[in-house]
């Protein structure tokens, strides 16, 4: 037991990869066995994550469960893991969503083994980003996550999958190169890649490099980091890969893409950009805030204009993540005194919670889109209509999840968005006000979706269809979405259990 | 210099090859006269074995170390008994033996006793050339060799090509010979001596006399170079080579291209390095260096468009002589050793190559390179033997040619003639192109005729000796040969920077 506790993070990180290898190597023929094996392998990290949550001393600030081993001594890079409140919540989110996504993927019939193996590999990649405390290790897991997602979209996606997966990969990678260059520069100059050390020494580094002023170097470094993360979040205008990727990916792929992968970008902002470049972040925060606002508004507008259900949900991610970025901008402002620490902390708490919440609601939405798509083989909103009549349970769940997404008080979305707005208002009043407009349209598009899918006259096509293949959501899918719904409700009513943990970490970060 | 020394055993041992060859020639002639037509097929073998015996005997008995006359002039100062002579005689005898061997069974010449006798006489002339220490002996050896070779080149009377070859060789040779004789006589005139080793002093005096003396010496230098240039087929005295090589019976081509060239280089080394005073070195080195560069380049460039394999090898031989001239120009122990090594390599290699050609033309009647297509399938070992020979000529390890070129280029760089080394090196690449083309034709192209080529035992033996020899000389056992060459060079008394 002590061994487990000592190496908890490594276990959580690598058990999915182990599962992936096991699946590929063992000659299992039965699809069922493959599916349940994969599911089992994905549950173990979740259980361990819960243990982690329970053993985490949330009142203490700083990183816990640290593990350090030298890895690439030539470059002074070591295998350094650790979690604080922010990363812990992300770990929980990832380990929760993956089993659910796998459960949803039981409907995949082709090359099941490979699919499950890739999925587990993806989990390791994502978890790695959240738990690394060394820049190189961070980058490694950041990049590794691209590969399984590329293949998941490319092989099991929809009609336009090749274009979408290619764009996703190249776009993200192009951003990553800038990140890599910046990381190399920092690590080389300071002689270490360890994040904890760098947080101490890099911000106070004021020498010139290559004959270029220190200020310029830092500004360039800041932007390289920012762009890389901005592509991932995504921040407008770097978001164009997202609609295609999310839409073309298989259901579970979209769940994870929206649910976790986007959070990698936001996490990068919080974990790296703010501590390493506080002054530059403060300086450029207004730009970020404006972009965030545009994301909120444009995302909502774009969503509203879609006739493809999945694309609508995809754009909604842009909209929701905009709040995260807005809060980050506020947090940045606290470094030069333009925002009070309290506002910043509130906003950032909201941001992290929003990350968690959006993970839940986006996953749920994509899951539900997938449910209906599996049965009707169309995502065209105009072709739906009145499905409430034949699929009432589905309708109820869809309504519930949409409300959470919309930010209905009592559900989780409200709490996080409220915190963000509360924190941003004193700092970026105008921008926040305009973002409220976005919120208005959020409501609009959500209701539009609901209207088109559930209400209205029942489309005869589906009524006929229902007689042979039930349109109603089945038990497995309900089992997959239920935990999400429970959490949406719990967080909406009693967010303290998670907010407390996040708060300590955020305070430490911004302090 | 005494001219009335007693003829002791050691003096006789110093001329073992000459004595042996004379006796052997008489034996062969006798056999030819006494045996009936049908049973004369073995004459070549007798000649070959005889020469081999002489070779071994010479190595054992005729070496300078075996006698007390090391480094000394013998027989009235006509010959010098040193390692250089030993090593070149070995080359020449080896070439002679192998030439006889590969002539066995060849129509029109294989059964002719006179043919072998003349080969033996030519070998004798070359043996004299290797050891010559006197101007008269130089000329004597040269002429003995040359005349025999003229006859051999034109031996096949009813073949137009052969007759043309013999005649051309004769005309060219006689002309250049007489020019050289004039140069030699000028030297005698200036020095009052005919012994090579005694010339340096008087000539130096001549030089110090001023412009007239210098001019005279340079004139004689040029005239002598004409003669040597012809013998080694250096540019611009090379014009006879392609036609003569192509027309002569192929074993004779092999003989001319190897042994006669080798013996001439022995002479070159002695005459130039011992005779012409160091004050003249800049002039003659410049001249010979230019010749070397021109020879290499022209030889290689003209080889490129050739379609006949014998002509290709003729131009290749011209180029090879060019490389060897680099070693002469270097004027050092290393240079002389390099030349010696290179000639040894060259003898083995070229004979190997020509043996393959003999066999191929005998089987197919063709000397066209294009007809060699698919040889690797028809007769893999024959193709391999030719590959070994061509690659050695090109200078590719692990074959002897690589070591030889390395020694030569090292000598050039050491003598501060880096430009010459670079010219040589670039030429090697040009040459590689046409050698590789032949190899490509054998391996890549295919032919309709799949029948294997007949390889009689005598020829197989020759190929084994040459191929293995070339391989050995290029690898670990290269050392004994090189050491031998170094000993030979050091016996010449030159400045040298070696460990």
């Amino acid at each position: 037991m002590q061994f487990v506790l000592d190496h908890l993070l490594t276990l959580i990180l690598f058990i999915p990869l182990l599962g992936s290898a096991v699946l590929m190597v063992l000659p299992i023929k039965s699809k069922g066995v493959v599916r349940w094996t994969a599911f089992a392998f994905s549950l173990v990290p979740f259980v361990l994550a819960v243990v982690l949550w329970g053993s985490f001393a949330w009142q203490e600030s700083g990183f816990q469960f640290e593990e350090v081993t030298p890895w690439f001594q030539l470059l002074n890079s070591s295998y350094h893991l650790g979690v604080d409140g922010i990363s812990l919540s992300m770990v929980l989110l990832t380990t929760l969503l993956t089993p659910l996504a796998i459960l949803i993927s039981f409907g995949i019939e082709e090359q099941v083994k490979l699919y499950m193996a890739l999925f587990l590999m993806l989990e390791t990649g994502m978890l790695g980003v959240f738990v690394s405390l060394d820049l190189i290790i961070f980058f490694i897991f950041w990049e590794i996550g691209l590969v399984p997602m590329y293949f998941l979209i490319n092989i099991w996606g929809s009609a336009n999958r090749r274009y979408a997966s290619f764009k996703f990969f190249i776009y993200t990678m192009a951003g990553s190169i800038g990140l890599l260059l910046s990381i190399q520069l920092i690590g080389l100059t300071m002689g270490t890649f360890d994040m904890l050390e760098l947080f101490q020494v890099w911000p106070t580094f004021t020498d010139d490099l290559f004959g270029v002023a220190n200020g310029t170097i830092k500004a360039v470094g800041f932007w390289l980091f920012t762009i890389a993360f901005a592509i991932k979040v995504p921040v407008w205008p770097f978001h164009t890969w997202l609609p295609d990727a999310h839409t073309e990916a298989p259901t579970a792929g979209s769940m994870i893409l929206a649910g976790v992968l986007l959070k990698l970008g936001a996490y990068g902002f919080l974990r790296l950009v703010l501590p390493l470049f506080p002054m530059q972040a403060a300086q450029f925060a207004p730009v970020l805030a404006v972009l965030a606002m545009l994301a909120i508004i444009m995302g909502a507008f774009a969503s509203f204009g879609q006739s493809d259900f999945k694309r609508l949900v995809a754009y909604s991610s842009v909209n929701h993540m905009g709040f995260v970025v807005l809060a980050i901008a506020v947090a940045a402002r606290s470094f030069n005194g333009d925002a009070s620490a309290q506002d910043a902390i509130i906003a950032t708490n909201g941001a992290v919670l929003q990350m968690f919440n959006h993970g839940l609601s986006a996953a749920a939405m994509f899951l539900l889109v997938g449910v209906i798509y599996d049965r009707t083989h169309t995502r065209d909103l105009t072709r739906y209509g009145g499905l409430w009549a034949i699929a009432p349970v589905y309708g109820g769940i869809l309504m519930f999840s949409s409300m959470a997404s919309l930010g209905l008080p009592g559900l989780n979305g409200f709490v996080s968005e409220f915190l963000v707005v509360r924190g941003s208002w004193p700092v970026f009043t105008l921008i926040t006000a305009l973002s409220m407009l976005g919120l208005l349209f959020t409501g609009a598009y959500i209701l539009k979706a609901l209207l088109n899918v559930l209400h209205g006259p029942l489309n005869e096509e589906w009524a006929e269809h229902d007689k042979e293949h039930a349109l109603e959501i089945n038990r497995r899918e309900i089992a997959a979405v239920a935990p999400l719904m429970v959490l949406m409700l719990v967080i909406g009513i009693y967010p303290a259990w998670i907010l407390n943990v996040i708060n300590v970490a955020v305070t430490n970060l911004l302090g | 210099m005494e001219f009335t020394e007693p003829v002791s055993l050691s003096v006789l041992l110093a001329i073992v090859p000459e004595i042996g060859l004379t006796i052997l020639a008489l034996i062969v002639l006798t056999i030819d006269m006494t045996t009936p037509e049908e049973r004369r097929g073995g004459i070549g073998l007798v000649a070959a074995v005889g020469v081999a015996v002489i070779l071994v005997a010479n190595l054992l008995l005729g070496g300078p170390r075996a006698s007390d006359l090391e480094g000394q002039l013998v027989l009235g100062g006509m010959l010098r008994h040193d390692t250089l002579a030993l090593i070149f005689r070995t080359m020449v005898l080896l070439a002679g033996a192998l030439t006889c061997l590969i002539s066995v069974g060849l129509e029109k010449v294989g059964r002719q006793g006179e043919y072998y006798v003349i080969i033996l006489v030519a070998t004798l002339g070359m043996s004299l050339m290797s050891a010559a220490a006197d101007l008269i002996m130089v000329y004597l050896g040269l002429e003995t060799t040359s005349i025999s070779l003229y006859v051999l080149a034109g031996f096949i009377r009813d073949d137009e090509r052969s007759s043309e070859s013999g005649l051309k060789y004769f005309l060219f040779g006689a002309f250049t010979s007489s020019i050289m004789l004039y140069g030699l006589s000028l030297l005698y005139g200036f020095a009052g001596q005919t012994n090579i080793y005694a010339l340096a002093g008087p000539l130096a005096e001549r030089l110090s006399e001023g412009a007239q003396g210098t001019f005279a010496l340079i004139l004689s230098l040029v005239l002598i170079i004409v003669g040597f240039g012809f013998k080694v087929a250096a540019v611009p005295f090379h014009f006879w080579t392609p036609d003569v090589y192509q027309g002569a019976p192929t074993p004779i081509t092999a003989f001319i291209s190897t042994a006669s060239k080798a013996a001439s280089f022995a002479l070159l080394l002695r005459v130039f390095l011992a005779v012409f005073p160091s004050a003249m070195q800049p002039q003659w080195t410049a001249l010979v260096a230019a010749m070397a560069a021109a020879t290499m380049t022209l030889g290689n460039v003209l080889a490129l468009p050739q379609r006949n394999i014998k002509r290709l090898l003729a131009y290749s031989s011209i180029a090879q002589a060019g490389y060897a001239l680099i070693g002469v120009v270097a004027i050092s122990d290393l240079g002389a050793a390099a030349v010696t090594f290179y000639m040894f390599m060259y003898v083995l290699t070229n004979i190997g190559a020509f043996t393959v050609i003999v066999l191929f033309s005998r089987a197919t009647g063709s000397e066209d390179i294009a007809d060699y297509a698919g040889l690797s399938r028809r007769s893999p070992y024959l193709a391999l033997a030719l590959v070994v020979a061509l690659l050695s000529l090109a200078g590719i390890p692990p074959l002897a040619g690589f070591m030889g070129k390395f020694y030569l280029f090292s000598a050039a760089v050491q003598a501060n003639m880096v430009w010459l080394a670079i010219v040589g090196v670039l030429n090697a690449i040009v040459a590689l192109y046409y050698y590789l083309t032949v190899i490509k034709i054998m391996y890549v192209d295919s032919s309709d005729d799949d029948s294997p080529i007949q390889v009689p035992r005598a020829h197989a033996f020759t190929l084994v000796v040459t191929s293995v020899g070339v391989l050995l000389m290029g690898t670990i056992p290269s050392v004994p040969w090189f050491e031998w060459a170094v000993t030979a060079a050091s016996g010449l008394g030159l400045p040298g920077v070696m460990n």
Binding site: P70, W71, F72, Q73, L74, L75, I136, I140, F141, E143, I144, V147, N154, R162, F166, I170, M173, I177, L180, L181, Q184, L185, G187, L188, L209, F210, V212 | L334, A337, P380, L391, I396, P397, P398, F402, F406, Y407, F409, V413, V418, A421, I422, V425, L426, A428, I429, L432, Y433, L436, I439, K440, Y443, V444, I476, S478, V479, E483, V486, M498, N499
Partner: protein, 512 residues
């Protein structure tokens, strides 16, 4: 008695070649192939042993063997490995053994094919193991002719004659010019050490005594005058722009196993020789010239990847990709610091394995589909999943995906380039940025091939008799893939060793 590992590694293929030529017949190909596999296997095993037993802490030359050869000129049979050459020997072992495995299907004069292949392998080993410069040359040239014959005879009919001749002459020009330089070096070194010697140890002593810092033309020292010729002379074989032109045609024309050796090992031979003879012996020259040569390497990286992007022929993409990746090796050398140079050494290994993998896969596809035209292919994943997987792993390695050896090699190189921005000249920082863009282009063309060749629609009518690869093929691919992951996940298995070999060179450069 100490086992002479070096000689075993070197001699086993040569002995096998002789046995094959003398005793085996083309009508019975199996003994020939088995013998080849055994011979390369023995050399591979010995090189693994040497690699694993190398004492990184003491560094320096180990497993030395010496015998005099031509003492008059200071040439000796001196073999040994250090931290740089041990991985190279290992690489040769891997490429040659897997190359034999995937050539099992050769049926045209297999005896000659495998005999020349063995000679080629021996030549390449010799270059890496030689500690005498003449010996290095000897083996360098030894490898050239078998390469010619293998490509010209068993290569792709359309271009093999042209490509093989071009390749041979090109490489030879470079190397012989370098040879003249080496001879000059030896002669110049003589006064400093009191003897003529081609031995690497002796020449390093001469270098330390300042023998190569003597002026030869006015103020220009020997080192400065000769370095470009030696470095670029060998650099031809490493594919340094603008002397890379032989490489793509050569790669494409060669039969698969030969391409594996060619791109995988031969090009590394050139880089290694440039390092050992050029940089290590003439550090002053290196310090003067590398700062401008780095631009050539940058052109390699960027231009190579862009040309790879537009190729229609599958194999040409890989060929140009090699030109691009070798540019990173030379770039690493040009940084003159420990990170960059260690990265370069690791890239030599990583790229070697990766490109061997690529060419093996390409060969397998071509053998079955009889076309290499990217637009015509498609869906090969369905028929040969192992090959597709192997190719994808190789592709990810080439774009520097973490977890694979490409990343752990390219990372230190780029860091080294950054560092050179402070220690040598600020423009190195720009070079780092531009080189990194090459990575993105690489990703693009790799994905393009993966998508078009292995995924996509499988044309049943055109490729109806395309089947999966043999067990031997799969073994070969598995071995190569394993090493890509192994070094990628545990760089500590190679980085310290390479660093120990590069450290003395960096030291002399720093002092130079």
């Amino acid at each position: 008695m100490t086992i002479p590992f070096m000689t075993i590694i070197l001699a086993t293929p040569m002995v096998a070649a002789i046995i094959m030529l003398a005793f085996m017949k083309n009508e019975q190909p199996t003994p020939i192939k088995v013998l080849s596999a055994i011979a390369t296997g023995i050399s591979l095993a010995a090189s693994i042993y040497v690699y694993v037993s190398y004492d990184v802490a003491s560094a320096g030359f180990q497993f030395e063997e010496f015998a005099p050869w031509v003492p008059q000129l200071g040439v000796g049979y001196h073999l040994g490995v250090d931290g740089i050459s041990a991985p190279m020997a290992l690489l040769t072992g891997l490429a040659s053994f897997t190359g034999v495995l995937i050539s099992w299907g050769i049926d045209d004069r297999p005896r000659e094919f495998f005999a020349f292949f063995m000679l080629l392998v021996a030549g390449v080993y010799g270059v890496f193991l030689a500690l005498d410069l003449f010996l290095l040359f000897f083996f360098y040239e030894l490898a050239i002719f078998p390469m010619y014959v293998l490509i010209a005879t068993w290569g792709w009919k359309v271009t093999r004659v042209y490509a093989s001749m071009k390749l041979t002459l090109y490489i030879l020009v470079g190397s012989v010019i370098a040879l003249v330089g080496v001879i000059a070096m030896v002669l110049v070194a003589e006064p400093a050490i009191g003897k003529l010697s081609f031995d690497v140890v002796d020449l390093m002593e001469a270098r330390d005594a300042g023998a190569f810092d003597v002026p030869v033309m006015g103020a220009v020292t020997f080192a400065r005058a000769w370095f470009p010729f030696i470095f670029l002379g060998f650099g031809v074989l490493a594919g340094v722009f603008p002397f890379h032109n032989w490489s793509p045609d050569g790669h494409v024309a060669a039969p698969s196993a030969v391409s594996m050796i060619h791109a995988g090992v031969l090009m590394k031979m050139g880089a290694y020789a440039a390092l050992r003879v050029g940089v290590q012996m003439l550090p002053q020259g290196a310090a003067t010239h590398l700062p401008w040569m780095v631009f050539l390497t940058l052109i390699n990286v960027v231009y190579g990847s862009m040309i790879a992007m537009v190729q229609r022929d599958f194999k040409y993409v890989i060929g140009f990709s090699s030109v691009s990746h070798m540019g990173l090796v030379s770039m690493g050398f040009a940084t003159q610091n420990l990170q960059g140079m260690t990265g370069a050494g690791m890239q030599m290994f990583s790229h070697g394995v990766m490109t061997a993998l690529f060419f093996a896969s390409v060969g397998m596809v071509y053998d079955r589909a009889h076309t290499r035209d990217i637009p015509s292919l498609g869906g090969m994943w369905t028929k040969m999943p192992t090959v597709a997987f192997a190719f994808i792993v190789g592709g990810l390695t080439s774009m520097g995906m973490p977890g694979l050896s490409g990343f752990v090699a390219e990372l230190p190189i780029l860091i080294g380039v950054w560092r050179a921005g402070s220690t040598i000249a600020p423009y190195y920082a720009v070079i780092a940025i531009l080189a990194a863009t090459g990575i993105v282009v690489t990703a693009a063309y790799v994905l393009r091939i993966v998508q078009l060749v292995f995924f996509g629609e499988f044309d049943e009518s055109k490729f109806h008799d395309v089947g999966d690869v043999t067990a031997l093929d799969k073994t070969a691919l598995a071995i190569l893939v394993a090493f890509l992951f192994l070094i990628g996940i545990f760089p500590a298995l190679m980085a310290p060793m390479v660093a120990s070999g590069m450290a003395p060179i960096v030291q002399v450069l720093g002092g130079a």
